[in-house]
């Protein structure tokens, strides 16, 4: 704040001057008062009960002290950014913090000009505008999207430093309420051939990112999403239209969707052959490994938090499964020797993250804490040894093994996988 001649005005002087204005009757209307407040209110009041606050605004802002950020790698066209899991509450990811994974950058698309072509083994090849798509019966559903490469660093202790946060480990995970039209509704409209068994979904980015998807999934719970958390889907998440395949690996949820081709076989695109396939022992590679297996991660305490003292702390985290609902999350505070049921915070939704909590009385000694998720199929989140045994050490995707954190006696928390193997 400064006066007309540029010299700083103290807060007390400002209050006095304002009071003078009021006392002099220069504020004729309430609008004048709001205007004055908007122009003159200090950004941070030492006593907010003694100073009028800011007036309403067209667009809200985060509190100045609360500035969570995505973690970006070096700028590149084919790159990613990660959601700050350790900074968030509940299960919904703020849309501007939803993780990114682009293969050729974020395209600029004018929604009014965007069209979806649906063709191939259909009775009526059709073109839909966004207005057309929004006119169909609408659904809103809460689902996570997770990059299949999420957590690769937790698969090999040599690849991830102990100073790894939930964000750097597993930040390619986000949850939104998606709104759109069921793909089954659109496929019903165009009439799918009885001989069809796959679709190809293609994006309108500079990679024309393309994935083949079994027709079974397309007719089950696949959505064409144009809404995210109450507003239009964000450009980084596929504006104006993305394919949403609940529970399936992120890259198959094709963004900036512009074409669906109904086929009787997979197209074998680059991103389902050379990429997003999983080399196994014995010279084979798993293909079309769509479903994200059950997984969990403790987000507090985790790096970079420090517990200032021993005593009662609530262990908090997220669990999710691409096969349905999480039925149980267990927490261990003794490096996996014993396990306790964590509390699940409703809502517990299918193919969505669920928040779990476990109250813990830390005795101040070095401790290794970890969690394991169990889903409605009975699948138990495995140890890294179990995954190595099942797959070998070459896979780069679907690394859902248990995550551990080591709490040192000074309260510092570090990624603790290496302490278990």
């Amino acid at each position: 704040m400064s006066s007309k001649d540029g010299s700083p005005i103290s807060r007390r002087a400002w209050l006095g001057a304002t009071s003078g204005v009021v006392a002099a009757g220069l504020l004729k209307t309430q609008a004048d008062a709001f205007k004055l407040a908007a122009q003159e209110a200090p950004a941070v009041a030492s006593d907010p009960t003694k100073v009028p606050g800011r007036v309403t605004s067209e667009l809200g802002q985060r509190a100045p002290a609360e500035q969570p950020r995505r973690l970006t790698r070096a700028p590149a066209l084919s790159s990613s950014s990660r959601t700050p899991l350790q900074d968030l509450y509940g299960i919904i990811t703020p849309s501007d913090l939803h993780f990114e994974r682009h293969h050729a950058g974020v395209p600029n698309i004018v929604a009014e000009e965007h069209e979806l072509l649906v063709h191939g083994m259909v009775d009526r090849p059709m073109v839909f505008t966004m207005a057309d798509l929004k006119r169909f019966p609408q659904v809103s559903r809460i689902h996570f999207i997770e990059c299949s490469g999420n957590g690769g660093g937790a698969y090999n202790p040599n690849r991830m430093p102990t100073t790894a946060s939930p964000q750097s480990l597993d930040g390619l995970l986000s949850t939104s309420e998606w709104t759109g039209v069921l793909l089954s509704t659109i496929l019903r409209e165009v009439g799918v051939s009885a001989d069809a068994s796959w679709i190809l979904a293609e994006g309108s980015d500079a990679a024309m990112m393309s994935r083949s998807v079994p027709l079974e999934k397309a007719l089950d719970d696949a959505m064409l999403a144009y809404g995210q958390n109450g507003e239009a889907i964000r450009p980084e998440q596929g504006y104006p239209l993305r394919l949403a395949l609940p529970g399936w690996e992120g890259n198959a949820n094709v963004k900036w969707l512009r074409r669906i081709e109904v086929t009787d076989r997979p197209t074998m695109t680059r991103d389902e052959t050379s990429r997003y396939t999983d080399p196994l022992e014995g010279g084979t590679a798993r293909q079309f490994s769509f479903v994200m297996d059950a997984k969990s991660i403790i987000t507090f305490p985790s790096y970079p938090y420090v517990l200032p003292e021993s005593g009662w702390w609530e262990i908090k985290g997220l669990a999710w499964s691409g096969r349905g609902k999480i039925t149980r999350v267990e927490v261990s505070t003794d490096a996996g020797r014993s396990w306790s049921d964590a509390e699940l915070q409703p809502p517990v939704l299918s193919k969505a993250t669920v928040r779990f909590r476990h109250l813990w009385n830390w005795d101040g000694q070095e401790s290794i804490i970890l969690s394991r998720a169990i889903d409605e199929t009975g699948y138990v989140q495995p140890t890294v040894q179990q995954l190595w045994e099942a797959r070998g050490e070459r896979t780069r995707y679907h690394q859902n093994n248990q995550r551990a954190w080591k709490i040192s006696r000074d309260g510092s928390v570090t990624f603790g996988l290496g302490d278990l193997i």
Partner: protein, 204 residues
Amino acid sequence: MRRAGAVLCAVLVVGCSGSGESLAGGSGSVVSGVGGSAVITSLPANAPDRFDFGAAASDARVAMWDISVKPDGEGLPTGRGSVAEGQGVYLTYCAACHGATGTEGPNDRLVGTDEWDEWPSGQAVGNYWPYATTLFDYIRRAMPQLTPGILTSDQTYAVIAYILNMNGLVPDDAVMDATTLPAVEMPARDRFVVDDRVGGAAIR
């Protein structure tokens, strides 16, 4: 039948039988027969058979946007290109990111002839890509990275011929076109298996 062929059929069977289960078991769902097609969907009970939203897509419109190439070559355009022609295309448009010999990077390694079990890193065309047609599909979509779509069909066939030649998969005098490209035998063709993760107690 070759191993990957069996894999593909298994995937298809899963897809088809899965749809059947959904048709039988989907509570509250509507099974709609439209034009002889069986499609399951979840719609309000009073939904019409068709909404008639959207516009018919002409053959020309479909042809303009349908750029996908199938493993059997369906979708490949006319045109042709030789290994020799492809070298120039490669050095002009590809080498800066993939290296003079397709191994140096900084972007994805294209050339690799190591045996699978010896293969250290990078999914190269010669040791990991199961279908040669994927090269055409992908290059036409996405390459060169900064100017995607700039290559003609002839140039695309040519640079594919050159990449395949660098991988030792076609001879120096090879010419790629809509007939020869799908016929290239890819070493990794039979390596891919169906995802056997199904939930439950098994860790896979």
